[in-house]
Amino acid sequence: MEIIKTANLTKMFGDFTANDKINMTVNAGEIKAIVGENGAGKTTLMNMLYGLLKPTTGEIYIKENKISFDSPTDAMSCGIGMVHQHFKLVPSLAVYENVLLGTEIEKKHKIGKKSFSLKIIDEKQEIKEVEELIEKYQFQINATDLIKNISVGARQKVEILKMLYRNVEILIFDEPTAVLTPQEIETFFVTLRELKKQGKTIILITHKLQEVMEVSDSVTVIKQGKVIGDMLTKNTSSKALARLMVGRDVLLKVDKKYRNYSKKPVVYKVENLTTINADNIKVVNNVSFEIHEGEIVGIAGVEGNGQSELLDLLTGILKATSGKVYLKGKEVSNFWPKKLRESKIAIIPEDRYAQGLCLDMLICENMIAGYHGNKEICKYGLISQKKMLDKLDCLIEDYDIRVSEKGGKISSLSGGNAQKIIIAREFDSDPDMLVAAQPTRGVDIGAIEYIHNSILGLQNTGKSILLVSSELSEIMNLSDRILVMFKGEIIGEVDAKNATREEIGYLMAGIRKENDDE
């Protein structure tokens, strides 16, 4: 039976189409996985189902009734509950108090035949009801423990209990395993199967393909706001899913010359780099690689496998727990961004508007940010306005940046032109080494082509480049060598010239070559 059905569901944010005519069905009692890269539109879709966003056009049907949600409360009353990636729990309250938050049970008093309730919480009854629920789903947690004293995995169970208590039939999980350790993930799957057995319908948003294969019944692949695949899990493989997720047709072919760089001197060397996050997970685990002079090394991988953390380590935002980084033989491990730039490492950050640019500052100010202390612009602590504007004029011209108003702010620029500001700023510093992260995320085709050609242009001047991107075609078009990251480790290396999508797809799904040969 179809429990959820969407018909041409579309969501626009201004001119941007986040969800484009999504037609999807979820059957009652199944585990449905929704996969796609970051920014593919999974979360937008779920937020519409959960009443956090209103569709621009299109309809949602629950049990064949057309519905329109104004808030999560409406969704909840229709039996839809969501377990968020970041838990919404009160650490200083007990498990049962969190489960019942907002629906507390009041003490009943009886005088003669009449019963009435006072505004006093009936804790005994609350504990009893929550314990019954825990028993029913075999959750193995204690109703009276305080949230702050229990593990992340147990907290997730509390979130699930919150939904179950409210009698939801459909549970949406947003990246549920992102915060869990491998052991906790195993127990989580047990929980999911138990929920399914009890007749609940589960929607799992994820980009971890192994999990999809392990636990789901059917899977829908979303890419750039569109459904590009809808199939039963047993009829597909992680390999096929990986290809669907990242493999869009190559729209642009760049003129790339392959050479053998292994004889050239090593410019950049990363040695056993490791870091542990707040939850004690090794998000970057023993990563080592070398980049030779004039070489582009690409790092591919399904998002969330440690690429972002590796980038933060290499760009001075995150501290490594162990391991070293060398530039031309000199150690640059754990350098601050300022010192990295002074050591001639240029950085194109992953998040353009959080780290790369300041939306609320002038274009010319952004054009010098990070290099604003350089002697040519800044003397005796004063920044020369004239030289700053000259530089802007010069770089706008050189990098063909379309600026409607030179004195305007970054917020007046399109994504592509904003990214070009970063490219211009970083390339102009004449670096020895470039760390480029998601250089073309969310920019238009023209800008992609321009940025790809500039990166290759930089390579032709003998610079070394580390390219991290979730766009497989970008990695394949630009790199000389490709490293694939999986669960914080580099799982394999392929020569870009002869690499195939399949080969990389396997690695991205965590399947090593040896297994492939079986």
Binding site: W336, L340, G381, G407
Partner: protein
Amino acid sequence: MSKWNNNLSSNLRKSASTITPILIAFLIGAIAIILAKENPLSTYFILISKSLFNIKGVLKTLHYAAPLILSGLAIAVSFKAGLFNMGIEGQIISSGFVVAILGYELAFLPAGVLIPLLLLIGIVVGVLVALLPAFLKAKYNVNEMVVTLLLNYAIFAILEFLTSTVFRDPSSGYVSTSMIGSSAIISRIGDSKLTLFFFITIAVFIVMYFVFHRSKLGFEITAMGKNRSFAEATGMETQKKTMYIMLLSGALAGLAGAGWMMGEKFAYTLSFSGTPGLGWDGMLIALLGGHSPIGILIAAIFYAVLKTGSASVAIYTNVPAEIILLLQALIILFLSIKFFNKKRVKKEPKKEAATNGSDS
């Protein structure tokens, strides 16, 4: 200067949203004046004419404006960087107190040595008081707002104790330190109230203008305030900068306290900083001036106009001088309502959607 032309329309909008609360405050203030059985228009006329329409009044206004400009700048420099130094008041009174003691003890020094020395000491005291919260913030990320805010009360209590015991002037009828020596008093110009300190303030103002708009530090302050992760990723060493900015803020406050002591008060009393206090006034001024140096200059002078005129209002009408406190409170109230409105505008579409939904 091209920056300015482009921002003209947004500047106009900004000044409109600043002037509106002031006008509303004056309108409501008029009701209070009517209740005191006076004509609001003539009262306001006295308020402004006595402080702006004659030379003596203007000089007095500028005299009062000097410490306000400094304390406004002290607030702005930290707020603009997204740091909240709420301890300006404590920094001002600490500096004033130390200057009062040393101005008495070192009175044997000639004015040419003593005055610059005391101004410098005032700055150092302001910096020292700001050092603790700055250090805690930069090193351990302790909320600077809480620390600076609470320190004000601790400092006031300590100074009250010292003034009424160790450093009390026995010949004085009320709690006060001894008068500073004549060589520590910044001389007035002619028979006006204005002292040379005003010109020192203007010099500092010009320096701060360049710091805000032209310097590397100003650039980084803006970046930190607007987008901290951007500032960090572009290598602005935000921890170190946090320290600098808090200390700069303290230095400005210290200078304000020293100047106020040597140009107006001459001895530390419990009402040295007035009610509600120069530091708190500075907060309102920075808010009115939109944290920009020019805005602060205008706001400080406007505020000094009210301060100067209030005495005349008390003399020439039945309206008590406290009308000025009422106006100040109302301005703060309506300035904050401006913020409140912004947030409400954002929420409104959702509300609309909700009603539409229930109709269908």
